[in-house]
């Protein structure tokens, strides 16, 4: 009996040394806040398409956080105890992920934030896009189409989420530059197309003929507003409408002239850049493999040791909508 136990122990020891010496395979976890929306789905798909994953250098596991900070916390505990080398982390909220990061830090696991920042000094690095900038860009585009004056409505994300707070800051910054622009209404539709549809219908009733521009803090809600305008028998082209994220349906809407602008938040670069950064910490002298560094020359690799990497936004307008549509088809093909 004892002999068997010894043998098993020895075997485990040898095998684990063998793994450690082989050393080339890194276990990386992609911790998403939830896989029910298109954006995180694209993010996860992009991770799977990263050259390091395709070549087998990285052993990747995607986790579905199910929109719950406590689910993400327990997934971090699992990854920490199972000896993951790095975690790519998209928290559900800016404040909610700090404890999870601390758990991983205590187990010496590298945590690279992606898409949404975490309020924690223990984050190894962060790659994402500045929401204030996108909020500013979309509001500016809407106002310019309105000729610099008139009434706008803002459809907000869930109040208190970092993307809502920062995009609103950008919205208001642009609006403040135009004294002749008036904010008629400002309310949340919780990122939801169906909610925004009802909200916009009610606004069109309350302010007939006086709404000139719609600032949707994401594309889904901007699309809901488009449907409401159509349902009211009005012409979408008489309104200036913009959204953020660059979801597939919004690209189509821009192509058809129903939306004036969507601002692409580059899920591919946020995801693939995060793998590169993590590998930069794990492998000495690692050179990044993802195309994102070539796509955005203004985003410098700097040896992979910067604290923050800022992925630029790409405005999708009628001019480049077709090209963006092709790119998206490639990513969503199953």
């Amino acid at each position: 009996m004892r002999k068997t136990a010894l043998f098993v122990a020895a075997l485990v020891f040898v095998v684990s040394i063998g793994f450690a010496q082989a050393g080339q395979k890194y276990r990386i976890g992609g911790a998403t806040y939830g896989l029910a929306g298109e954006y995180m789905k694209l993010w996860a798909t992009a991770l799977e398409r990263h050259p390091a994953v395709q070549q087998g250098l990285v052993d990747l596991t995607i986790f579905d956080g199910r929109y719950d900070a406590s689910v993400q916390q327990s997934q971090f505990e699992t990854m920490s105890s199972q000896g993951y080398d790095a975690i790519l982390f998209v928290p559900i909220d800016i404040e909610a992920g700090a404890a999870a990061v601390a758990t991983a830090h205590a187990a010496d696991v590298i945590v690279v934030g992606s898409n949404t920042r975490v309020n924690s000094d223990l984050l190894t690095a962060y790659i994402g896009s500045n929401d204030v900038v996108s909020g500013y860009m979309e509001a500016k585009a809407v106002i310019e189409k309105m000729g610099g004056k008139g009434n706008v409505v803002i459809i907000e994300g869930p109040i208190g989420q970092s993307a809502q707070i920062e995009r609103l800051e950008g919205n208001l910054k642009a609006i403040a530059e135009y004294p002749e622009v008036n904010v008629l209404e400002r309310r949340t539709a919780n990122w939801s197309r169906a909610e925004a549809l009802a909200l916009m219908e009610n606004w069109l009733t309350a302010h007939p003929g006086t709404i000139h521009g719609v600032i949707g803090q994401n594309d889904e809600m901007a699309l809901g507003a488009v449907q409401a305008i159509k349902a009211a028998g009005l012409d979408v082209k008489d309104f200036a409408i913009a959204g953020i994220d660059g979801v597939s349906d919004a690209i189509t809407a821009v192509k058809n002239g129903e939306m004036d602008l969507s601002i692409l938040q580059d899920a591919v670069s946020q995801a693939q850049g995060a793998i590169d950064i993590a590998l930069g910490y794990l492998i000495d002298g690692y050179e990044p493999m993802s195309d994102c560094w070539k796509d955005y020359p203004e985003m410098k690799w700097n040896g992979g040791k910067d604290k923050t990497y800022d992925v630029p936004w790409t405005p999708i307008t009628k001019q480049n909508a077709d090209e963006q549509w092709e790119k998206r088809q490639d990513l969503t093909a199953r």
Partner: protein, 333 residues
């Protein structure tokens, strides 16, 4: 003295009528207030808007009324709605490649079938295996939602057939007269059919009997299991129909559509005066409950009241309605 007695009878009768009309009265009062507080509440266009906004919850609530009348509950309505919606969307989409694009009418039938099957599974398990409705439909809430994500791969299904979109965005125009939006027509039609089934057919009397007292219903020869099976299947069908309308209205099969819609459906039924223990309650009350919730949501939007207050308000109305019922039945005792 006889004069007194008859006047007392009169006033009792008056109170009884007032009681019967309590939701309608509340609805009228709210509408009067909103038409004074806002400029455009009392316009045909706005009222049609409100009706269109409530048509989805309306369909769910009709099915929910049947189920609650039998003493059950259906927590899976939002998930069945999403599944019916994405199945239909997949068959009218040029972008979804796994299934062919077919005639919109056939696609809708497939979506309705999908919802009915899910509802029938609920009914079968509840009636044959004696799993409580709460547990079974809680399970189905998760199962159907998961199936929806698997089917769509978590992505919205877009690029839908233009003819199909008419059912959510178009108008019913008999002889060229623009009458009502299609979702409203479908909702009212479904309501009328449900009313006939419930009050003019044997099936309806059985539904009330099963909820009132399942044992005596069984003894008097009613096939209780079949009635229970049927009400869940009907709910599944109506959920899928609501999913079809929502899909056509938003121009996309959204996998996350209908999350927590069961709350509004149950709320409408309860506000309408249906007893959660079954056997008692008018279908017309559900209609009024549905419209009441819709009017409040839309009215608070137009008054620019924060959506936080909207939630508190809805909660107060639900509890208030049930409290009223309690005082009333107390008075009867």
């Amino acid at each position: 003295m006889p004069d007194d007695a008859s006047s007392m009878q009169e006033s009792n009768k008056f109170r009884a009528i007032l009681w019967e009309l309590r939701i309608a009265i509340a609805l009228v009062l709210i509408c009067v207030y909103l038409s004074m507080a806002t400029d455009h509440f009392l316009t045909t266009r706005n009222l049609i808007n409100v009706l269109r906004q409530v048509s989805v919850n309306g369909l769910l609530s009709i099915g929910m009324t049947f189920i609650i009348l039998t003493g059950g509950i259906d927590l899976s309505v939002g998930s069945m709605l999403a599944f019916g919606g994405v199945v239909t969307a997949s068959f009218v989409s040029n972008a979804y490649k796994d299934v062919p694009s077919i005639n919109p009418f056939h696609a809708i039938c497939l979506g309705l079938l999908a919802g009915t099957v899910l509802g029938a599974v609920n009914g079968l398990v509840i009636s044959k295996m004696r799993v409580t409705p709460f547990i079974m439909t809680l399970g189905m809430l998760s199962i159907a939602r998961g199936m929806t994500y698997i089917y769509t791969n978590g992505m919205p299904i877009t690029d839908l057939d233009k003819t199909f979109l008419q059912i959510g965005q178009g108008f019913f125009e008999p002889w060229g007269v623009r009458l009502l939006p299609w979702p409203v027509v479908i909702f009212l039609l479904a309501f009328a059919i449900a009313w006939v089934v419930l009050y003019r057919m044997k099936f309806g009397r059985y539904v009330y009997a099963v909820g009132g007292n399942a044992r005596s219903a069984r003894i008097s020869g009613i096939n209780v299991g079949f009635i229970i099976f049927m009400v869940y299947a009907i709910s599944g069908f109506l959920c899928a129909l609501a999913g079809v309308l929502l899909t056509a209205r938003t121009s996309a099969g959204l996998p996350q559509a209908g999350v927590s819609y069961e709350l509004d459906a149950i709320a409408a039924v309860v506000i309408g005066g249906t007893s959660m223990t079954g056997g008692k309650g008018p279908l017309i009350g559900t209609l009024l409950g549905v419209i009441l919730i819709g009017v409040i949501n839309s009215g608070l939007d137009q008054l620019s009241v924060s959506s936080y207050y909207q939630q508190v308000c809805k909660g107060l109305i639900i509890v208030g309605a049930v409290m009223l019922d309690y005082f009333q039945s107390d008075g009867e005792r």
